[in-house]
Protein backbone atom coordinates (compact mmCIF):
# COMPACT_ATOMS: atom_id res chain seq x y z
CA UNK A 1 0.00 0.00 0.00
CA UNK A 2 1.37 3.37 -1.02
CA UNK A 3 1.82 5.81 1.78
CA UNK A 4 2.13 9.57 1.73
CA UNK A 5 3.85 11.86 4.17
CA UNK A 6 1.28 14.31 5.43
CA UNK A 7 1.10 16.96 8.14
CA UNK A 8 -2.08 16.93 10.19
CA UNK A 9 -3.42 20.30 11.29
CA UNK A 10 -5.85 21.44 13.90
CA UNK A 11 -8.92 23.33 12.84
CA UNK A 12 -7.30 26.57 13.96
CA UNK A 13 -4.17 25.84 11.99
CA UNK A 14 -6.34 25.00 9.00
CA UNK A 15 -7.97 28.40 9.24
CA UNK A 16 -4.57 30.10 9.21
CA UNK A 17 -3.49 28.53 5.94
CA UNK A 18 -6.81 28.55 4.16
CA UNK A 19 -6.56 30.18 0.72
CA UNK A 20 -2.99 31.20 1.48
CA UNK A 21 0.07 30.94 -0.74
CA UNK A 22 3.05 29.05 0.68
CA UNK A 23 5.38 30.08 -2.15
CA UNK A 24 4.99 32.29 -5.23
CA UNK A 25 2.06 31.06 -7.33
CA UNK A 26 1.60 28.02 -5.10
CA UNK A 27 -1.31 27.69 -2.70
CA UNK A 28 -2.05 25.36 0.17
CA UNK A 29 -4.64 22.77 -0.63
CA UNK A 30 -5.75 21.04 2.58
CA UNK A 31 -7.60 17.78 2.23
CA UNK A 32 -9.33 15.55 4.71
CA UNK A 33 -8.38 12.11 5.86
CA UNK A 34 -11.09 9.54 6.17
CA UNK A 35 -11.02 10.32 9.88
CA UNK A 36 -11.88 13.92 9.05
CA UNK A 37 -8.46 15.24 9.90
CA UNK A 38 -7.22 18.30 8.03
CA UNK A 39 -4.00 17.48 6.19
CA UNK A 40 -1.49 19.08 3.89
CA UNK A 41 1.33 17.34 2.06
CA UNK A 42 4.98 17.30 2.98
CA UNK A 43 5.76 18.90 -0.37
CA UNK A 44 3.79 21.96 0.64
CA UNK A 45 5.57 22.17 3.99
CA UNK A 46 9.02 21.63 2.50
CA UNK A 47 8.43 24.22 -0.22
CA UNK A 48 6.95 26.78 2.16
CA UNK A 49 9.01 29.95 1.91
CA UNK A 50 6.91 32.39 3.87
CA UNK A 51 8.10 33.28 7.32
CA UNK A 52 4.60 33.42 8.70
CA UNK A 53 4.11 29.72 7.97
CA UNK A 54 7.46 28.40 9.11
CA UNK A 55 5.74 26.92 12.14
CA UNK A 56 4.46 24.24 9.79
CA UNK A 57 7.97 22.82 9.56
CA UNK A 58 7.85 22.05 13.28
CA UNK A 59 4.85 19.79 12.93
CA UNK A 60 5.45 16.07 12.54
CA UNK A 61 5.06 14.37 9.20
CA UNK A 62 2.96 11.28 9.38
CA UNK A 63 2.68 8.39 6.98
CA UNK A 64 -0.87 8.16 5.72
CA UNK A 65 -2.11 5.47 3.40
CA UNK A 66 -2.84 6.94 0.00
CA UNK A 67 -6.30 5.47 0.13
CA UNK A 68 -6.98 7.36 3.34
CA UNK A 69 -6.22 10.67 1.67
CA UNK A 70 -9.02 10.55 -0.82
CA UNK A 71 -11.77 8.17 -1.82
CA UNK A 72 -10.42 5.05 -3.37
CA UNK A 73 -12.97 4.95 -6.11
CA UNK A 74 -11.18 2.31 -8.13
CA UNK A 75 -12.99 -0.38 -6.20
CA UNK A 76 -16.08 1.46 -5.13
CA UNK A 77 -19.58 1.52 -6.47
CA UNK A 78 -19.06 5.11 -7.49
CA UNK A 79 -17.78 4.07 -10.87
CA UNK A 80 -20.73 3.97 -13.15
CA UNK A 81 -20.45 2.20 -16.42
CA UNK A 82 -16.70 2.09 -15.84
CA UNK A 83 -16.76 5.83 -15.79
CA UNK A 84 -14.33 6.97 -13.10
CA UNK A 85 -15.93 10.36 -12.73
CA UNK A 86 -16.39 11.48 -9.21
CA UNK A 87 -17.44 14.64 -7.53
CA UNK A 88 -16.40 15.39 -4.02
CA UNK A 89 -17.37 18.57 -2.27
CA UNK A 90 -15.61 19.26 0.94
CA UNK A 91 -15.57 21.94 3.54
CA UNK A 92 -12.67 21.11 5.72
CA UNK A 93 -13.45 23.75 8.28
CA UNK A 94 -16.90 22.40 8.83
CA UNK A 95 -15.40 18.93 8.38
CA UNK A 96 -18.01 17.94 5.92
CA UNK A 97 -17.70 15.89 2.78
CA UNK A 98 -20.17 14.93 0.14
CA UNK A 99 -19.44 12.57 -2.67
CA UNK A 100 -21.51 12.19 -5.76
CA UNK A 101 -20.97 10.45 -9.03
CA UNK A 102 -21.70 11.50 -12.52
CA UNK A 103 -24.89 10.33 -14.17
CA UNK A 104 -27.30 11.58 -16.75
CA UNK A 105 -28.65 14.19 -14.43
CA UNK A 106 -26.97 17.39 -13.42
CA UNK A 107 -24.72 17.62 -10.44
CA UNK A 108 -27.20 19.58 -8.37
CA UNK A 109 -29.84 16.92 -8.72
CA UNK A 110 -27.40 14.23 -7.71
CA UNK A 111 -26.36 16.06 -4.62
CA UNK A 112 -29.89 16.88 -3.65
CA UNK A 113 -30.72 13.21 -3.96
CA UNK A 114 -27.81 12.27 -1.80
CA UNK A 115 -28.91 14.57 0.96
CA UNK A 116 -31.82 12.28 1.46
CA UNK A 117 -29.41 9.44 2.02
CA UNK A 118 -27.71 7.87 -0.94
CA UNK A 119 -24.42 6.10 -1.48
CA UNK A 120 -21.66 7.64 0.53
CA UNK A 121 -18.19 6.85 1.69
CA UNK A 122 -19.38 6.75 5.27
CA UNK A 123 -18.84 10.28 6.42
CA UNK A 124 -21.38 12.36 4.68
CA UNK A 125 -22.93 15.57 5.77
CA UNK A 126 -26.57 16.48 5.46
CA UNK A 127 -26.45 20.21 5.09
CA UNK A 128 -28.41 21.15 2.03
CA UNK A 129 -27.76 24.86 2.11
CA UNK A 130 -24.04 24.44 2.44
CA UNK A 131 -23.83 21.95 -0.36
CA UNK A 132 -25.83 24.08 -2.72
CA UNK A 133 -23.78 27.08 -1.73
CA UNK A 134 -20.59 25.21 -2.54
CA UNK A 135 -21.97 24.06 -5.81
CA UNK A 136 -22.82 27.54 -6.94
CA UNK A 137 -19.59 29.11 -5.79
Amino acid sequence: MTEKKMVILTKEQGILIRNQAFAPDSYFHPILSKYMEIMISEEEVDACQLEEFQWLKMLPKQSIAETDCQPNCSESDLIIDQSPVLYKIEDYLAKTVTIAYQCNEGRKEIILAMIDGATTMGYVLNMATKIISNQNS
Binding site: P24, F28, E44, P71, I89, C103, N104, R107
Partner: protein
Protein backbone atom coordinates in the same frame (compact mmCIF):
# COMPACT_ATOMS: atom_id res chain seq x y z
CA UNK B 1 28.46 69.60 -21.17
CA UNK B 2 29.62 66.42 -22.87
CA UNK B 3 27.03 64.62 -24.98
CA UNK B 4 26.78 60.88 -24.63
CA UNK B 5 26.11 60.10 -28.29
CA UNK B 6 26.25 56.38 -27.67
CA UNK B 7 23.44 56.57 -25.15
CA UNK B 8 21.35 58.73 -27.43
CA UNK B 9 21.80 56.30 -30.32
CA UNK B 10 20.92 53.35 -28.11
CA UNK B 11 17.77 55.09 -26.95
CA UNK B 12 16.78 56.14 -30.45
CA UNK B 13 17.01 52.60 -31.84
CA UNK B 14 15.25 51.13 -28.87
CA UNK B 15 18.12 49.26 -27.28
CA UNK B 16 17.68 51.26 -24.12
CA UNK B 17 14.76 53.31 -23.02
CA UNK B 18 14.94 56.77 -21.59
CA UNK B 19 14.37 55.27 -18.15
CA UNK B 20 17.40 53.05 -18.66
CA UNK B 21 15.31 49.97 -18.99
CA UNK B 22 16.36 47.49 -21.61
CA UNK B 23 13.89 46.32 -24.15
CA UNK B 24 13.56 42.66 -25.02
CA UNK B 25 11.41 40.20 -26.84
CA UNK B 26 7.92 40.25 -25.26
CA UNK B 27 8.45 36.78 -23.87
CA UNK B 28 11.40 37.99 -21.86
CA UNK B 29 9.39 40.08 -19.44
CA UNK B 30 7.37 37.28 -17.85
CA UNK B 31 10.59 35.33 -17.50
CA UNK B 32 12.23 38.26 -15.77
CA UNK B 33 9.30 38.43 -13.44
CA UNK B 34 9.54 34.69 -12.93
CA UNK B 35 13.09 34.84 -11.73
CA UNK B 36 12.49 38.00 -9.72
CA UNK B 37 14.73 40.26 -11.75
CA UNK B 38 13.61 43.87 -12.17
CA UNK B 39 14.35 45.47 -15.50
CA UNK B 40 15.81 48.59 -14.02
CA UNK B 41 19.09 50.19 -13.14
CA UNK B 42 19.09 47.98 -10.09
CA UNK B 43 20.63 45.49 -12.48
CA UNK B 44 22.03 47.72 -15.16
CA UNK B 45 24.37 50.26 -13.66
CA UNK B 46 25.67 52.33 -16.50
CA UNK B 47 29.26 53.33 -16.21
CA UNK B 48 30.00 51.01 -13.35
CA UNK B 49 31.64 47.65 -13.09
CA UNK B 50 28.18 46.14 -13.21
CA UNK B 51 27.42 47.52 -16.64
CA UNK B 52 29.13 44.84 -18.62
CA UNK B 53 27.95 41.92 -16.58
CA UNK B 54 24.47 43.31 -16.55
CA UNK B 55 24.39 43.70 -20.30
CA UNK B 56 25.77 40.25 -20.83
CA UNK B 57 23.29 38.78 -18.41
CA UNK B 58 20.34 40.34 -20.14
CA UNK B 59 21.68 39.51 -23.55
CA UNK B 60 21.96 35.90 -22.56
CA UNK B 61 18.41 35.80 -21.22
CA UNK B 62 17.16 37.49 -24.34
CA UNK B 63 18.90 34.93 -26.51
CA UNK B 64 17.62 32.12 -24.35
CA UNK B 65 14.04 33.27 -24.73
CA UNK B 66 14.50 33.78 -28.46
CA UNK B 67 15.94 30.29 -28.72
CA UNK B 68 12.91 28.87 -26.97
CA UNK B 69 10.64 30.85 -29.21
CA UNK B 70 12.60 29.69 -32.23
CA UNK B 71 12.68 26.09 -31.10
CA UNK B 72 9.01 25.77 -30.32
CA UNK B 73 7.01 28.80 -31.34
CA UNK B 74 8.34 29.47 -34.81
CA UNK B 75 8.06 25.91 -36.13
CA UNK B 76 4.52 25.79 -34.84
CA UNK B 77 3.82 29.16 -36.37
CA UNK B 78 5.31 28.00 -39.65
CA UNK B 79 2.84 25.12 -39.64
CA UNK B 80 0.00 27.52 -38.83
CA UNK B 81 -0.39 25.85 -35.47
CA UNK B 82 0.74 28.54 -33.08
CA UNK B 83 -2.41 30.61 -33.45
CA UNK B 84 -4.42 27.44 -32.90
CA UNK B 85 -3.01 26.96 -29.42
CA UNK B 86 -4.62 29.24 -26.88
CA UNK B 87 -3.18 27.14 -24.05
CA UNK B 88 0.44 26.00 -23.94
CA UNK B 89 2.20 25.35 -20.65
CA UNK B 90 5.68 24.05 -21.50
CA UNK B 91 6.87 24.18 -17.85
CA UNK B 92 10.15 25.90 -18.52
CA UNK B 93 12.19 27.57 -15.82
CA UNK B 94 12.01 25.24 -12.86
CA UNK B 95 9.69 27.21 -10.57
CA UNK B 96 5.95 27.50 -10.10
CA UNK B 97 6.17 31.10 -11.17
CA UNK B 98 7.87 30.29 -14.46
CA UNK B 99 5.70 27.23 -15.04
CA UNK B 100 2.49 29.22 -14.69
CA UNK B 101 2.93 31.10 -17.94
CA UNK B 102 0.99 30.29 -21.05
CA UNK B 103 3.44 30.38 -23.92
CA UNK B 104 0.71 31.32 -26.36
CA UNK B 105 0.05 34.52 -24.46
CA UNK B 106 1.75 34.97 -21.09
CA UNK B 107 -0.86 37.52 -20.07
CA UNK B 108 -3.79 35.11 -20.44
CA UNK B 109 -4.77 31.84 -18.83
CA UNK B 110 -2.03 32.10 -16.26
CA UNK B 111 -1.96 28.88 -14.25
CA UNK B 112 -2.09 28.52 -10.48
CA UNK B 113 -0.73 25.57 -8.56
CA UNK B 114 -2.44 24.12 -5.52
CA UNK B 115 -1.13 21.54 -3.10
CA UNK B 116 2.18 19.72 -3.26
CA UNK B 117 4.09 20.14 -6.50
CA UNK B 118 7.76 19.65 -7.17
CA UNK B 119 9.00 22.12 -9.73
CA UNK B 120 12.41 21.77 -11.30
CA UNK B 121 14.20 22.13 -14.59
CA UNK B 122 12.77 18.87 -15.88
CA UNK B 123 9.11 19.79 -15.42
CA UNK B 124 6.45 19.84 -12.75
CA UNK B 125 5.42 16.83 -10.73
CA UNK B 126 2.25 16.72 -8.62
CA UNK B 127 2.36 14.57 -5.52
CA UNK B 128 -0.69 12.50 -6.35
CA UNK B 129 -2.26 13.40 -3.02
CA UNK B 130 -3.61 16.92 -3.17
CA UNK B 131 -1.84 18.70 -6.04
CA UNK B 132 -3.52 20.15 -9.08
CA UNK B 133 -3.18 23.13 -11.39
CA UNK B 134 -5.85 25.32 -12.85
CA UNK B 135 -5.81 27.81 -15.65
CA UNK B 136 -7.86 30.14 -13.42
CA UNK B 137 -9.84 31.44 -16.39
CA UNK B 138 -12.54 29.68 -18.34
CA UNK B 139 -11.42 27.97 -21.49
CA UNK B 140 -13.99 29.05 -23.97
CA UNK B 141 -15.99 31.75 -22.29
CA UNK B 142 -15.28 34.99 -24.11
CA UNK B 143 -12.55 33.34 -26.14
CA UNK B 144 -14.44 32.49 -29.27
CA UNK B 145 -12.97 29.01 -29.46
CA UNK B 146 -14.94 25.89 -30.07
CA UNK B 147 -14.85 22.46 -28.52
CA UNK B 148 -15.93 21.15 -31.89
CA UNK B 149 -12.43 21.82 -33.19
CA UNK B 150 -10.49 21.25 -30.00
CA UNK B 151 -7.47 19.18 -29.13
CA UNK B 152 -6.23 18.78 -25.56
CA UNK B 153 -3.31 16.96 -24.12
CA UNK B 154 -0.33 16.67 -21.85
CA UNK B 155 3.12 15.13 -21.93
CA UNK B 156 3.59 12.55 -19.20
CA UNK B 157 7.00 11.66 -17.84
CA UNK B 158 5.79 9.19 -15.22
CA UNK B 159 4.61 5.67 -15.74
CA UNK B 160 1.97 4.98 -13.12
CA UNK B 161 -1.01 2.68 -13.26
CA UNK B 162 -3.94 3.97 -11.25
CA UNK B 163 -7.07 6.05 -11.21
CA UNK B 164 -5.26 9.34 -11.60
CA UNK B 165 -6.96 12.22 -13.33
CA UNK B 166 -4.56 14.02 -15.62
CA UNK B 167 -6.75 16.47 -17.49
CA UNK B 168 -10.20 17.83 -16.80
CA UNK B 169 -12.51 20.69 -17.63
CA UNK B 170 -16.19 21.00 -16.95
CA UNK B 171 -19.16 22.96 -18.05
CA UNK B 172 -20.63 23.42 -14.62
CA UNK B 173 -21.78 19.95 -13.66
CA UNK B 174 -20.79 18.38 -16.93
CA UNK B 175 -17.24 17.25 -17.59
CA UNK B 176 -16.19 18.14 -21.10
CA UNK B 177 -12.63 16.89 -21.00
CA UNK B 178 -11.42 13.99 -18.93
CA UNK B 179 -8.26 12.00 -19.32
CA UNK B 180 -6.84 9.27 -17.13
CA UNK B 181 -3.59 8.34 -18.82
CA UNK B 182 -3.56 4.80 -17.47
CA UNK B 183 -5.91 2.97 -15.15
CA UNK B 184 -5.86 -0.82 -15.05
CA UNK B 185 -3.84 -0.81 -18.23
CA UNK B 186 -6.11 1.48 -20.21
CA UNK B 187 -6.42 5.17 -20.91
CA UNK B 188 -9.85 6.49 -19.92
CA UNK B 189 -11.08 9.59 -21.62
CA UNK B 190 -14.13 11.64 -22.36
CA UNK B 191 -14.40 14.53 -24.73
CA UNK B 192 -17.61 16.42 -24.31
CA UNK B 193 -20.23 15.43 -21.79
CA UNK B 194 -20.64 11.71 -21.97
CA UNK B 195 -21.23 8.82 -19.63
CA UNK B 196 -19.26 6.47 -21.79
CA UNK B 197 -15.50 6.59 -21.85
CA UNK B 198 -13.16 5.74 -24.56
CA UNK B 199 -11.23 2.92 -22.89
CA UNK B 200 -8.07 2.16 -24.79
CA UNK B 201 -5.28 -0.21 -23.86
CA UNK B 202 -1.92 1.43 -23.24
CA UNK B 203 1.36 -0.23 -22.25
CA UNK B 204 2.38 2.63 -20.00
CA UNK B 205 1.46 6.21 -19.17
CA UNK B 206 4.41 7.87 -20.84
CA UNK B 207 4.41 10.27 -23.74
CA UNK B 208 2.33 12.97 -25.33
CA UNK B 209 -1.38 12.26 -24.91
CA UNK B 210 -4.02 14.01 -27.00
CA UNK B 211 -7.78 14.02 -27.11
CA UNK B 212 -8.60 15.20 -30.58
CA UNK B 213 -11.99 16.06 -32.06
CA UNK B 214 -12.03 14.39 -35.48
CA UNK B 215 -15.44 15.65 -36.49
CA UNK B 216 -18.73 16.58 -34.88
CA UNK B 217 -19.43 12.95 -34.01
CA UNK B 218 -16.09 11.40 -33.22
CA UNK B 219 -13.03 11.99 -31.09
CA UNK B 220 -9.82 10.05 -30.98
CA UNK B 221 -7.27 9.29 -28.31
CA UNK B 222 -3.63 9.64 -29.27
CA UNK B 223 -0.48 8.65 -27.47
CA UNK B 224 2.84 9.84 -28.86
CA UNK B 225 1.26 10.41 -32.25
CA UNK B 226 -0.28 6.93 -32.45
CA UNK B 227 -4.06 6.70 -32.47
CA UNK B 228 -4.88 4.24 -29.70
CA UNK B 229 -8.65 4.56 -29.84
CA UNK B 230 -11.65 6.58 -30.83
CA UNK B 231 -15.12 7.12 -29.53
CA UNK B 232 -18.37 8.31 -31.06
CA UNK B 233 -19.76 11.33 -29.30
CA UNK B 234 -21.60 14.23 -30.78
CA UNK B 235 -20.60 17.70 -29.68
CA UNK B 236 -23.05 19.33 -27.37
CA UNK B 237 -23.20 22.03 -24.76
CA UNK B 238 -19.53 22.73 -24.30
CA UNK B 239 -19.17 26.38 -25.11
CA UNK B 240 -19.15 27.49 -21.49
CA UNK B 241 -16.41 25.10 -20.45
CA UNK B 242 -14.61 26.25 -17.36
CA UNK B 243 -10.99 26.19 -16.30
CA UNK B 244 -8.64 23.48 -17.43
CA UNK B 245 -7.37 21.42 -14.51
CA UNK B 246 -4.24 19.35 -14.69
CA UNK B 247 -3.22 16.50 -12.38
CA UNK B 248 -6.54 16.29 -10.61
CA UNK B 249 -8.88 18.86 -9.24
CA UNK B 250 -10.13 20.14 -5.96
CA UNK B 251 -11.95 17.15 -4.68
CA UNK B 252 -9.97 14.05 -5.46
CA UNK B 253 -8.31 11.75 -7.99
CA UNK B 254 -4.96 13.51 -8.01
CA UNK B 255 -2.33 12.43 -10.47
CA UNK B 256 1.34 11.83 -9.62
CA UNK B 257 2.44 12.02 -13.23
CA UNK B 258 5.20 14.47 -13.94
CA UNK B 259 4.48 16.66 -16.92
CA UNK B 260 6.38 18.96 -19.22
CA UNK B 261 3.44 20.15 -21.28
CA UNK B 262 -0.24 20.82 -20.89
CA UNK B 263 -1.96 22.27 -23.90
CA UNK B 264 -5.27 23.06 -25.53
CA UNK B 265 -5.83 23.81 -29.21
CA UNK B 266 -8.91 25.02 -31.00
CA UNK B 267 -10.25 26.98 -33.92
CA UNK B 268 -12.83 29.70 -33.89
CA UNK B 269 -16.47 28.78 -33.50
CA UNK B 270 -18.08 27.37 -36.60
CA UNK B 271 -15.12 25.16 -37.45
CA UNK B 272 -15.37 21.41 -37.07
CA UNK B 273 -12.44 19.15 -36.38
CA UNK B 274 -9.23 19.50 -34.39
CA UNK B 275 -5.76 18.53 -35.54
CA UNK B 276 -5.52 16.79 -38.86
CA UNK B 277 -3.10 13.84 -38.94
CA UNK B 278 -0.50 16.11 -40.51
CA UNK B 279 -1.00 18.80 -37.89
CA UNK B 280 -0.87 16.23 -35.13
CA UNK B 281 2.39 14.85 -36.47
CA UNK B 282 3.86 18.32 -36.85
CA UNK B 283 2.87 19.31 -33.35
CA UNK B 284 4.17 16.09 -31.84
CA UNK B 285 7.47 16.29 -33.66
CA UNK B 286 8.05 19.94 -32.83
CA UNK B 287 7.17 19.45 -29.22
CA UNK B 288 9.30 16.35 -28.90
CA UNK B 289 12.28 18.05 -30.52
CA UNK B 290 11.88 21.02 -28.22
CA UNK B 291 11.44 18.92 -25.12
CA UNK B 292 14.40 16.74 -25.99
CA UNK B 293 16.53 19.82 -26.54
CA UNK B 294 16.02 20.59 -22.87
CA UNK B 295 17.20 17.11 -21.92
CA UNK B 296 14.13 16.21 -19.99
Amino acid sequence: MAINWGLIVMRSIGIISSSRRWRYQPEVYPFMEAIGMPNSDLIYHEGTTYERSGKQFWTQINELIINWKTALGLPLDFKNLYSRLPLVYPTIGGTATSHKYNLSDPSKFVATFFGGWTHDGSGAQPNGTNAYMTTTTGLFVNMGYSMESATFGFDSKTDANGLYLDLRATDGARPNIILYARNSGSAYSQFDYSLANSIDAVPDSLGLYMLNRVNANLFEVIKENAVIGSHSKTCGHEISSGVLNGAGYSGGQYSPRKRTLTFGASKSQGNIGGFTPTERTDFTNHWRNFDNSLNR
